[in-house]
Amino acid sequence: MKSLLKYFKGYIKECILGPLFKLLEASFELIIPLIVADLIDKGIGYGDNHYIIKMALLMIGFGLVGFVISITAQYYSAKAATAFSTKVRSALFSHIQTLSYTEIDNLGTAGLITRMTSDINQLQNGVNMTLRLFLRSPFVVLGATIMAFTINVKAALIFVVTIVLLSIVVFGIMLITIPLYRKVQKGLDKVLGLTRDNLNGVRVIRAFALEDNEIKTFAGENDHYVKIQLLVGRISALLNPLTFAMVNLATAYLIYRGAVKVDTGILTVGQVVALVNYMSQILVELIKFANFIYLDIKALACADRIESVLLIKSSMKEGDEEEGDEGKKGQVVFDHVSLRYDKTQDEAIENISFTADAGQLIGIIGGTGSGKTSLVNMIPRFYDASKGAVYVDGVDVKDYTYEGLRKRIGIVPQTSVLFAGTIRSNMKWGAKDASDEDIYKALKIAQAAEFVEEAGGLDAPVSEGGKNFSGGQRQRLAIARSLVSCPEILILDDSCSALDFATDAALRQGLKEMDNSPTIFLIASRTSSIMKADLIIVLEDGRVDGMGKHEELLKNSSVYQEIYYSQNGGRDNE
């Protein structure tokens, strides 16, 4: 929580004024029992009606002032809490934007989304309640005790003992239940996970006729979840009756001690009544405080989770080079590059070197998990090489600013993601200032112009994730998006898997004919897609099995041969 405190900056006034006004209001409340005592002792005791009216008016006046003060307090609390959460949210979102692929892999996007949404909401709630109650409740409890001391020291000692005992009970129950609440949350997460899995796998579940199994598993987890809920419920159900009993027993004792003191003339009846009133104020505040503490503990846990994300620094350092070497424009060099995602894992890429010259088509092929994507991900510096260096336009990728590097590169990832908006807004991701003409050009090359026209042109809506387009259409749109900026380097990571072969072929033809003739990295599963490449890199378990042109590889690379013949029937088909 500590490092989050800086987001209160600019609202320190509100943070101080909010609780301060709360305390002021509480002070007025604390005076009321004294007025009542006076009313009883002087007003009723001497039969003075005027005095009674005076005291009653005083109480109403105090009530009115208290009302205005507490509204002021709520105003400042609400202001500080919403401003704080807005700032934290904005800071967290901006921070996430600075992370690299490595950190995103570790944190997982689902976790990040929870941090951004429900965690911050709970935090806002917690801050709001803290500003309102954190000081108020202890203040009232303490104040009531002090007031009791001003009435009679010995009677006030009963307050001290009661409060100590109450604190033990309240905090004891909390200490037991808080870890249990965490278990409840885990139980809910499990039930949630099962439900989501079930929905995502509905076809498989039905195909394997596993509905009954699912029902059984779910019932088990559901029962388990309810069991923990019940356990926590049973323990926290003790809180109210226990505090109720303790405070009232203390009141009974207070009356007895008061009676003794009145009998000996140390106290008046009004003062005993005042003491009793203070005791009941304490009860009310304690119950509020206990509820508030639960909320606050939850909020603090959320704060910790948010903080832990904010503390994660990107494992990469941005360089400051904006431009590359003009003479080496479009050139990509891998110099003894290795990549290891995690210290505990083997290298995903082992010692790879090659040079791709401007305008060349580089084909990358290899088995499942052979490191194709890992290799190309190092060009836009999504991951840093653990050994060796990657050069784009003659400059080490680590020396570029992120923007300086990535504006040169167009990439089409394996899964094509579109964003809610229009076709145009999606295409402009590639280049902010692209004209409609630029966009159409890109769409044509990507074989997407036709269905975009049918859908209603560039203003056709795209729903979240691009769900209103088929898989193949999404892929083509994703390809077009990366072409809009006319990048020097184009990376297609198996981006044509959902295309039928006619479209695939037309697309490749289109790429070949692009005006600015970019250097193209094409990850493919079919040799037919890359057999005309200037350089083919054959990967096997993160190592290069062969590198060269189609004909050479057919002679030298056993992996390439196998792939080729597996797709083309046999040697005699050549």
Binding site: Q74, F93, T117, T195, N213, F218, T503, I563
Partner: protein, 582 residues
């Protein structure tokens, strides 16, 4: 609000049906609540009596005081005990009711037609089963604990006050509703801010889901600054709306507290004057003052319970909407149980449409002999996947029949029909759990040897072996660390575990390298010897060896036959084929 109240009645009835199972527990809880609140109310009377034994110096009636204190002790004990029992029972009933509803909802999901699941956002269904049902729990719990005790407390307080001094009681009765008026006025005014707030939050969540959920794409396109800008706009908007909602709603407490203070002062005033006149004792005034304090509390509580309940009812509406959805039509009573199917499939004049105005498959005819390998090719959106949906009876045809082994598939039990097909889809689905669980899919009685054997056939064994804990490696959501191809291999291993009489492979090997694919094909081929199979694929190597190739376009079969014949015909297929080698 008032309009929805009437239409909510059926919903209340439905919830009551679930609660009804726990009638006896609830009855005990209600009795406990009554005991608890009446006794808690009696305490101020006792305190007042205690105070009245204290008259002044040397004038304390200690025998009477001791009696009062003894009674107080007993009452406190019983009241606390009944309070605890009540709380515990309410917990029990609430969580049990909610468990039942959640179970029902989940079970329902298993019987829902796929058309519903396909057409509803998954997040929405999940939030119905999780968040909405939790809200029902919150509402019920609060309702059970506070509604009844609140009502008893209000009436009890009234009675006690009337007993002590009717005129002051009337004063309290007349002034307190003010606090309800004030709080409901504020609630009404705040409501629109809350709606605005949840809209703004929804907008922001959608943006977060989209941007953070696809953070890698964002980075790849250097879109970070724009994203921050977009986000800050939405965020700033939320800040203002959220401030208003928070502030206005937080006015309720000070306002009702002010009304309470007003009542308190008035009671002190009139009570004090009564005391002077000798109509009342100081002790009675003390009880009265504490009643005046308590009387308004349940009103506030009830109003918050009502808000919470309204919220819960809204959620219950969403949950029951799910539970009350039409189920898929149940299997016919005399439905045939398909076992050891030979695999002859005859499709006659079949039509299908996802929505009525857009027919997708029309007048579809097909005759597949047992043991034939059928490859389906065609451009995206031609109806390949729909055809498989129909074969598996995920959807039912609008017209026409699918006849399997001479039986119309609509008269075969879904379970036996689906188990007769082994299906591997392009969309891999893995669940949180171990690799082994993902292969067996939780079915019992499968030995480790069988699992390994299946994995070997699917060419998955070698990479599984290399995972940290082998077959016991726990996979995260959606397969976690595995690559797309590895996930497909695991999905194939599932089918290898128990080879069914017929097979459907829908782009099942699209992410697997071709060498591995060939090996898997070989494994399939030996196992599929003499079994009917349907294969949707892009790779010609897979298609070429099929017994029949169906070329589909716009929901029709436009060409069919063997590879060589289709090539010789020089039609659509020939075009497709030649384009691959251009």
């Amino acid at each position: 609000m008032s309009k929805t109240k009437n239409s909510n009645w059926p919903l209340y009835k439905k919830i009551l049906k679930y609660i009804g199972r726990y009638k006896i527990l609830l009855l005990i809880s209600l009795i406990m609540a009554a005991i608890n609140s009446v006794l808690a109310l009696y305490l101020p009377v006792l305190i007042g009596k205690g105070v009245d034994t204290i008259i002044g110096k040397g004038e304390v009636d200690f025998t009477a005081l001791f009696k009062v204190i003894k009674t107080m002790g007993i009452i406190i004990f019983i009241s606390a005990l009944s309070g605890w029992i009540m709380n515990a029972l309410n917990n029990r009933v609430t969580f049990d009711v909610v468990r039942d509803i959640r179970k029902e909802a989940f079970n329902k999901l298993q019987r829902m037609p796929l058309s519903y699941i396909d057409s509803s956002p998954k997040g929405d269904i999940v939030s119905r089963i999780i968040a909405d049902i939790d809200q029902i729990a919150d509402g019920l719990l609060l309702g059970f604990t506070q509604l009844f005790t609140g009502i008893i407390t209000i009436f009890g307080t009234l009675l006690f006050m009337l007993f002590i001094e009717a005129r002051i009681a009337l004063l309290v009765v007349v002034v307190t509703p003010l606090s309800i008026l004030v709080s409901s006025f504020i609630a009404r005014k705040t409501h629109k801010h809350f709606i605005k707030q949840s809209e703004a939050k929804g907008k922001q969540t959608a943006l977060i889901n989209e941007y953070v959920g696809n953070e890698k794409v964002l980075i790849a396109f250097g879109h970070e600054d724009e994203a921050v800008e977009d986000f800050d706009n939405v965020n700033e908007e939320l800040k203002h709306i959220s401030f208003k909602a928070t502030f206005y709603s937080s006015l309720t407490n000070p306002s009702t507290r002010f009304v309470n203070n007003l009542v308190y002062a008035l009671v002190a005033l009139t009570g004090g004057r009564c005391c002077v006149k000798g109509l009342m004792t100081v002790g009675q005034l003390t009880s009265f003052l504490s009643y005046a304090n308590q009387y308004t509390k349940p009103f506030n509580e009830i109003s918050s319970v009502v808000t919470e309940l309204q919220n819960s009812v809204a959620c219950a509406g969403r949950v029951f909407e799910l539970i009350d959805q039409d189920e898929q039509s149940p299997d016919n009573k005399d439905a045939y149980v398909l076992e050891g199917a030979r695999g002859s499939i005859l499709i006659k004049n079949m039509s299908f449409a996802y929505s009525e105005d857009k027919p997708l498959i029309e007048n579809f005819n097909l005759d597949v002999k047992p043991g034939q390998r059928v490859a389906i090719v065609g451009p995206t959106g031609c109806g390949k996947t729909t055809f498989i949906n129909l074969l598996m009876r995920f959807y039912d045809p609008v017209d026409g029949d699918i006849i399997i082994d001479g039986k119309p598939s609509s008269n075969i039990t879904r379970k036996s029909l689906r188990l007769s097909f082994g299906m591997v889809l392009q969309d891999t689905w893995l669940r949180r759990g171990t690799v082994r669980d993902n292969i067996t899919l939780g079915r019992e009685g499968i030995t480790d040897e069988e699992v390994i054997e299946a994995a070997k056939k699917a060419r998955a064994h070698s990479f599984i072996k290399r995972l940290e804990n082998g077959y016991d490696t726990v996979l995260g959501e959606d397969g976690g660390i595995l690559s797309q191809g590895q996930k497909q291999l695991i999905c194939i291993a599932r089918v290898m575990l128990r080879i069914p009489p017929m097979l459907i492979l829908d782009e099942a090997t699209s992410s697997i390298d071709t060498r591995t694919e060939i090996k898997i094909q070989e494994a399939f081929q030996t196992l599929m010897e003499g079994r009917t199979s349907f294969i949707v694929a892009h790779r010609l190597s897979t298609i070429r060896s099929a017994d029949v190739i169906l070329v589909m376009k716009d929901g029709h079969i436009i060409e069919s036959g063997k590879h060589e014949k289709l090539l010789a015909d020089g039609g659509f297929y020939a075009n497709l084929y030649n384009s691959q080698f251009s």
